[in-house]
């Protein structure tokens, strides 16, 4: 009997202590607060994206709140950012959205990942929740059927990768390339867009391999790729950690060709994980603090965290909250349908040196697809990422 009680007590304690750790947001002492929920991965391979995007919303809310908040129908409001670890899984994201809607009573939230966003649309749309999803729309994720879901991914691979591949081709006479993509729904979409991008850039895609999101040992996959002797290996839309490990292991296997990390890796990850192997590697989607607003974001980020941890999501989403706030003020309402109608016309400082905004009117009838009007090519030299070039991206409108 004593053993049974020990077991029951132990189980109770372990379940209590072990339940998903919620990262609580900042609390502003204010009579009226409006909550924004970040349902992001704070653990697992995509954690660095989730952490940085969450920090971006924290900084965005700080700037707005310190400036006196915002007014809707004569009432002052302050933002409160709340968060939930989605673990980058559809089920974790659904649990987070249910928590945000039922417990935190939010009208506005953000989820990360295409498959994850697809899973929560049946929850967010009927509940009239505005979701700034960090995902690209896919054939499985039609924006036309989810009018309150905005697609705020930092990069659109089919539009950004064509000039990027063409740039390498022009500079290095690129003829063949190989790509490693993460094996999940958006990775598969990225794989098909990469085929198209390589074709349009006139480069032979000799291999494209899918790798597990949580993989650490890429030796077998890289060994397979190296038999094709590609001029360039791209790390696809793999996470910062995976891309850095791929780079390191490709060099360890004797690969001397071009390595391109096109999906916004963290400079810190690349330098710490790949070490000296990072020398000479190209990257796209790194941060570039080049407007007064972004300088302010940088200052606040540096005050709290190591600035080397920042990735492109930081400059993408601090401004997005400001744009959303302006839309709410213009709508003079928290009615998300009214806010969405205003939000689609907002512009803000983000990835491009000038305004970022929403596009997609021609494609889906409403401007809800974020775009990046430049591709910024960086090269790692002497332990630093240096901006080499900026390329204009042509979107379909």
């Amino acid at each position: 009997m004593k053993k049974n009680w020990t077991l029951v007590t132990f189980l109770f304690l372990s379940l209590f202590l072990g339940q998903g750790v919620l990262i609580k947001g900042i609390t502003f002492a204010a009579a009226k607060e409006i909550k924004f929920a970040c349902i992001y991965p704070f653990s697992g391979p995509a954690a660095s994206w989730g952490i940085n995007d969450y920090r971006a919303y924290m900084i965005g809310s700080e700037i707005i709140n310190e400036a006196g908040g915002f007014t809707v129908q004569g009432q002052k409001y302050f933002w409160k950012i709340v968060s939930y670890d989605s673990k980058f899984t559809p089920e974790g994201t659904v649990a987070g959205v249910e928590w945000a809607i039922n417990t935190e009573k939010v009208n506005f939230l953000s989820t990360m990942g295409g498959g994850q966003t697809l899973a929560v649309i049946p929850k967010t749309e009927p509940a009239k929740i505005l979701n700034i999803s960090v995902a690209n729309p896919t054939p499985n994720l039609p924006p036309s059927k989810s009018p309150l879901t905005f697609f705020g991914a930092a990069q659109i691979s089919d539009t950004t990768w064509i000039p990027l591949i063409q740039w390498v081709k022009k500079k290095h006479g690129l003829k063949t390339m190989a790509v490693l993509q993460p094996d999940y729904v958006v990775g598969k979409v990225a794989a098909s867009t990469t085929v198209e991008a390589a074709k349009r850039a006139g480069v032979d895609l000799v291999a494209q391999e899918m790798v597990s999101l949580t993989a650490s040992d890429f030796y077998p996959t890289l060994t397979k790729i190296l038999t094709k002797n590609p001029d360039m290996i791209m790390t696809g839309i793999n996470s910062s950690r995976s891309a850095s490990l791929i780079l390191k292991q490709a060099r360890e296997l004797g690969y001397k060709g071009i390595v391109f990390l096109p999906w916004g890796p963290s400079v810190k990850d690349v330098l710490e994980i790949a070490g000296p192997q990072a020398e000479g590697v190209y990257a796209n989607g790194l941060i570039y603090w080049d407007t007064p607003w972004l300088q302010e974001v940088k200052k606040r980020y540096s005050a709290k965290w190591d600035i080397n941890e920042a990735d492109i999501g930081v400059i993408g989403f601090a401004g997005t909250l400001r744009a959303l706030t302006e839309a709410i003020v213009k709508a003079d309402s928290f009615d998300t349908t009214k806010v969405a109608a205003k939000f689609q016309d907002e512009k803000w400082d983000a990835y491009a040196p000038k305004d970022s905004g929403w596009w997609g009117a021609k494609k889906v009838g409403i401007k809800r697809l974020a775009f990046n009007s430049t591709v910024q090519i960086f090269k790692f030299e002497g332990g630093k990422a240096k901006l080499l070039d900026r390329l204009t991206v042509t979107v379909d409108e």
Partner: protein, 296 residues
């Protein structure tokens, strides 16, 4: 890369993966063999080992004069000692009452997984951590490649394995451990202190898991969830090699490493996992005791 070089490279990749897995499997085998418990939290012990090593070596919290390789070796030894002590603690606190009792010990170990993962999240944070390697460069063996740091890990792994093997075979305490593994009651009648031997078995098992975590920290990255995959593959290796058998654990680890390497290279990583677990199912059906195991 020619077909011959490719074949050799795939074998080398498989042996490297297998040797790395062997350290995790050896610890699990010892714990099962002596305590007769299945410790699902062994992967989390591996994770803790990686974090402790990151603190000692990566964050340099203990300043040690001399070349980095000395610091690396000392940090590895201290990590193993700390985690061995932690292993004794959890054995005394949680597993002692359930020795030889598989189901409660499994449930206990599942609880420990939750506690250690959440604890690591709180203490070490949610970001991936990495440790700089002290071994740089790549060995080119006629067109096939071996990174110096992986070679160092394999050498360290072999050294640890030989040390544990000699300890068990050649010392009185090691033979006492074998006696307890065979029949704890009979061993107790010969005057062997069962509690002491069980704690020692847990300490060595956890120290080996910690060594694996520490040795792999510079090769991969560290997060609170890194223990899952080695544990899963470790169990596959144990079942193939034979539960409780040290030679079986070596053969099982190498076999799993090679199957993974060939599967991932010539098919893809998902197919490799299907083959690994297909092999597991076949082994359970045809020879449930594994290649070197025996009935318990």
């Amino acid at each position: 890369m020619s077909q011959g070089q490719l074949f050799v490279q795939v074998i080398l990749n498989g042996i490297m993966s297998g040797m790395i897995l062997m350290l995790v499997v050896l610890g699990l085998t010892l714990v099962f063999g002596i305590l007769h418990i299945v410790n699902f939290a062994h992967g989390e012990i591996y994770m803790l080992g990686a974090y402790v090593f990151w603190l000692l070596f990566g964050k340099n919290i203990i300043s040690i004069p001399g070349p980095p390789v000395i610091h690396y070796i000392l940090a590895l030894i201290v990590t193993m000692i700390i985690i061995a002590a932690f292993g004794v603690l959890i054995e005394r606190l949680f597993f002692k009452s359930f020795r030889g009792n598989l189901l409660p010990s499994m449930i206990i170990s599942l609880g420990i997984i939750l506690i250690l993962q959440a604890g690591a999240l709180i203490v070490f944070g949610i970001q991936e951590r990495s440790v700089k390697s002290v071994f740089s460069g790549t060995l080119n063996l006629g067109g096939t490649y071996l990174s110096a740091e992986r070679v160092a890990v394999i050498m360290a792994g072999v050294t640890l394995f030989v040390a544990v093997y000699l300890f068990i075979q050649r010392t009185f305490t090691g033979r006492a451990m074998k006696a307890v593994a065979q029949d704890a009651d009979a061993a107790a009648l010969q005057g062997i202190n069962i509690d002491r031997i069980c704690s020692l078995g847990m300490a060595i098992g956890c120290a080996l898991a910690a060594a694996a975590g520490a040795l792999l920290a510079p090769i991969f990255t560290i997060n609170p969830y890194i223990g899952g995959e080695p544990l899963l593959l470790g169990f596959a290796a144990i079942i193939v090699g034979g539960l409780g058998s040290i030679p079986g654990s070596i053969v099982g680890s190498l076999l799993i490493g090679l199957v993974q390497s060939f599967g991932s290279t010539f098919l893809d990583s998902e197919a490799a996992m299907i083959i690994v677990f297909g092999l597991l199912v076949v082994m359970l059906v045809l020879k449930p005791t594994g290649l070197w195991g025996h009935e318990h």
